[in-house]
């Protein structure tokens, strides 16, 4: 909603500015190049994640001082507090670091951003920064074309730094030129009204640019060109610091409770720092003057004094907030509670059921049936199948679930919620009880363990299948859409047949009947392979599409086979002893393949005879 209004407004303001003055174009291009550089830098450092960066951050779990130092160091190197905050949030969400360590890193990152102001004010404005940017861009771009991940990452970092420097150069040039035509400084305001207003402007600019670093560089370059007064620049810097939390809050909206807590801590830290700095701005200015005098910074070097101010007010924030980290953690944990997802627990496995072999087997069988039901449910929801109520039998239809309100459901989440705990409990239960039983009973438990593994395998295969299904469920290529519909329909019909057999409770004969289902699955896979080859030959689908369809038909084949095999172990419990005998007559994979081959040869011969009969008749 905000974006829908904000974006056109920003476009209109910028368009008006470009029409008004070509210099505004240069400054805006400078900001754009700078932001592009930030993105490139973030991408470059992300390429190195998975190694050094993670190891470094993991060590920050020791204490808050370590975390603080690490946050500061990593932000100084990467010049992006948002990247460090994002990594901290992801680590916190994964449970690799504590909230205390996360807060330490974020506080440190805030201190680390102050080095950016020092670099720009002390180095960027004094030398011809663009001359450094050019070689960086050239070398960086060459490295971008390399295959090695590390070299590519280095390329992004170099190109990013080059773009940052170039952006600063354009901002500097732009403000110098603006000085000649328009005097923005006439909008300067003094007193607390000015401080508050410019704080808001700084905040707004940071929300729009999504980078406090970019805002700060803009402020420094404008200050160097005397387009903004020193007092107003300080207020803008305070506002930028508060504005940067909006980015973190937006980013944490989709995160879990831990991520939200860290974003809240970030907001509290920056708000407190901002309020204290606004309230004590004139006292802070005096402190900055004294420090500058002591450090040998001239009285008129406002840009360096701004860097001193930026460092001091962030330091004050850390000094104020650091003693309150533990109470803050406690408050945040209370205020933002963890959303606990109810996970299905085992119902039949207990020490009482483990006491006797028969009860143990029955308990595992009942629990496995729950895993089986959950597996079927995951397949139905994960593949966009809809249940149709028609009598007692289960009927499934294929939906365009991508546009359906519920969509294709998250298989991982469903697995975690309905299967994982029960499956783990079954494995543990079987491992603890299997060895003390007689051979037949141990075999029954092993088969049940195998049935569980097969159901879980089917769920994993469904997850793989879902990936391409999302892509092709509404494809513009009708053949691909049909191909995936056929795959889904086959799985749906397998589930229907399994359900029907379970309902009949014809014990051992059901179990034997499942071999026919397995053979139908073999046939389906063979016909899909032939169909894909035909479609590629006719150029109706690309070879890449064909390979996706073949891989996924293999997944569908494995899903159906595994579920049928699991059902063979689970159904017909009333005749358990006979089931052991029936295992001697069920067909294995090679026998099923042989049978499929024999049937297709027979059909081909029948077709030939039929055709020759037709010819003779004609």
């Amino acid at each position: 909603m905000l974006n829908r209004i904000l974006l056109p407004v920003i476009f209109m303001i910028l368009g008006y500015g470009f029409w008004l003055s070509p210099e505004i174009k240069i400054v805006s291009a400078g900001v754009a190049i700078f932001l592009l550089g930030m993105l490139s830098l973030e991408k470059g450092f992300s390429a190195f994640s998975g190694g050094m960066l993670e190891k470094l951050l993991r060590r920050a779990t020791g204490n808050k001082w370590q975390a603080l130092g690490l946050g500061m160091l990593s932000t100084t190197i990467m010049q992006s507090s948002s990247l460090v905050s994002i990594i901290a949030i992801s680590f916190l969400s994964a449970g690799l670091i504590t909230l205390t360590a996360g807060i330490g890193i974020v506080f440190g990152a805030n201190l680390g951003t102050t080095t950016g102001a020092w670099l720009v004010a002390g180095f960027g404005l004094k030398v011809n920064i663009a001359s450094y940017a050019m070689p960086m861009l050239v070398f960086g771009t060459i490295l971008l074309f390399q295959h090695s991940r590390n070299l590519k990452g280095l390329g992004y970092v170099l190109a990013g730094l080059g773009l940052l420097f170039l952006g600063i150069h354009y901002m500097k040039e732009g403000f110098e030129a603006i000085k000649e035509t328009i005097d923005i400084a006439r909008f300067a305001m003094s007193g607390y009204t000015g401080v508050l207003l410019f704080s808001l402007v700084g905040m707004f600019a940071t929300v729009v640019m999504q980078s406090s670093h970019a805002t700060l560089v803009l402020i420094i370059t404008a200050l160097a060109a005397q387009q903004v007064t020193y007092e107003n620049a300080l207020a803008l810097a305070i506002g930028a610091n508060v504005g940067t939390t909006v980015t973190a809050i937006l980013g944490a909206l989709g995160a879990n409770a831990s991520g939200k807590r860290l974003a809240a801590a970030h907001l509290i830290f920056n708000l407190v720092t901002g309020i204290v700095s606004v309230a004590l701005i004139y006292q802070l200015v005096q402190i900055v003057d004294r420090i500058s005098q002591f450090a040998g910074i001239s009285d008129t070097n406002y840009t360096l004094k701004l860097a001193v101010f930026h460092t001091i007010f962030n330091l004050i924030g850390v000094v104020i907030m650091l003693p309150f980290v533990q109470p803050l953690v406690a408050r945040l944990e209370k205020a933002i509670p963890e959303h606990v997802v109810e996970v299905d627990q085992p119902r039949y496995l207990s020490s009482a059921s483990a006491a006797f072999a028969d009860t143990a087997i029955e308990a595992v069988r009942n629990e496995t049936l729950r895993v089986y039901d959950a597996g079927i449910n995951i397949m139905v929801n994960g593949l966009g199948l809809r249940r149709i109520e028609r009598g007692d039998a289960l009927h499934l239809s294929v939906t365009r679930a991508a546009h359906h309100e519920s969509g294709l459901k998250d298989i991982d989440a469903m697995y975690e919620q309905h299967v994982k705990t029960i499956y783990s409990a079954i494995i543990a239960f079987i491992s603890e009880t299997a060895f003390s039983r007689r051979d037949e009973q141990t075999a029954s438990l092993q088969w049940l363990r195998e049935a569980n593994a097969r159901i879980v395998e089917s769920i994993k295969d469904t997850k793989h299948l879902q990936k391409n299904l999302r892509r092709y469920i509404d494809s513009s290529n009708q053949d691909m859409k049909d191909g995936y519909d056929t795959i889904r329909r086959h799985i749906a019909s397998t589930i229907e047949v399994l359900n029907e057999m379970r309902g009949q409770q014809d014990g051992v004969m059901d179990m034997l009947g499942l071999d026919a289902l397995k053979q139908a699955t073999e046939d389906h896979r063979n016909s899909t392979t032939e169909n894909v080859a035909r479609l590629i030959g006719l150029r109706r689908i690309s070879p890449e599409m064909g390979s996706s369809l073949l891989n996924d038909s293999r997944y569908a084949h494995d899903i159906c086979m595994n579920m049928a095999k699991a059902a063979q172990t689970l159904f017909g419990a009333s005749e358990r002893e006979l089931l052991l005998t029936a295992r001697d007559v069920t067909l294995d994979d090679s026998e099923l393949a042989e049978l499929a081959e024999a049937v297709s040869t027979k059909n081909a011969e029948a077709l030939k005879t039929f055709a020759s009969g037709d010819k003779r008749e004609s």
Binding site: M509, L512, D515, A516, L578, T581, D584, V585, L587, L595
Partner: protein
């Protein structure tokens, strides 16, 4: 002959493994009978079925059941030879 049969029974009584195998063979025989019965039923269904899709499904079922029976008969022969 009578003595021979009685000796065989005595041997079976004393040998639990042999007893078990005999029991299994009997179970397999019983199962094969049920399978044969089901195959006949399915064939009867096939003759009266008019729906093409169901007809194909029944044909498949009969073919698989037949293959299973063949496997079972082979297993029974092996069990009988022991």
């Amino acid at each position: 002959m009578k003595v021979k049969k009685q000796l065989k029974l005595l041997r079976e009584f004393l040998d639990s493994d042999l007893r078990k195998k005999r029991k299994q063979r009997l179970k397999l025989q019983g199962l094969l009978k049920r399978m044969k019965h089901k195959e006949r039923n399915l064939k009867a269904f096939l003759r009266s079925e008019t729906d093409a899709h169901r007809k194909t499904r029944l044909k498949h079922e009969i073919e698989v059941l037949h293959a299973q029976r063949k496997k079972g008969i082979a297993a029974l022969k092996v069990a009988g030879a022991v």
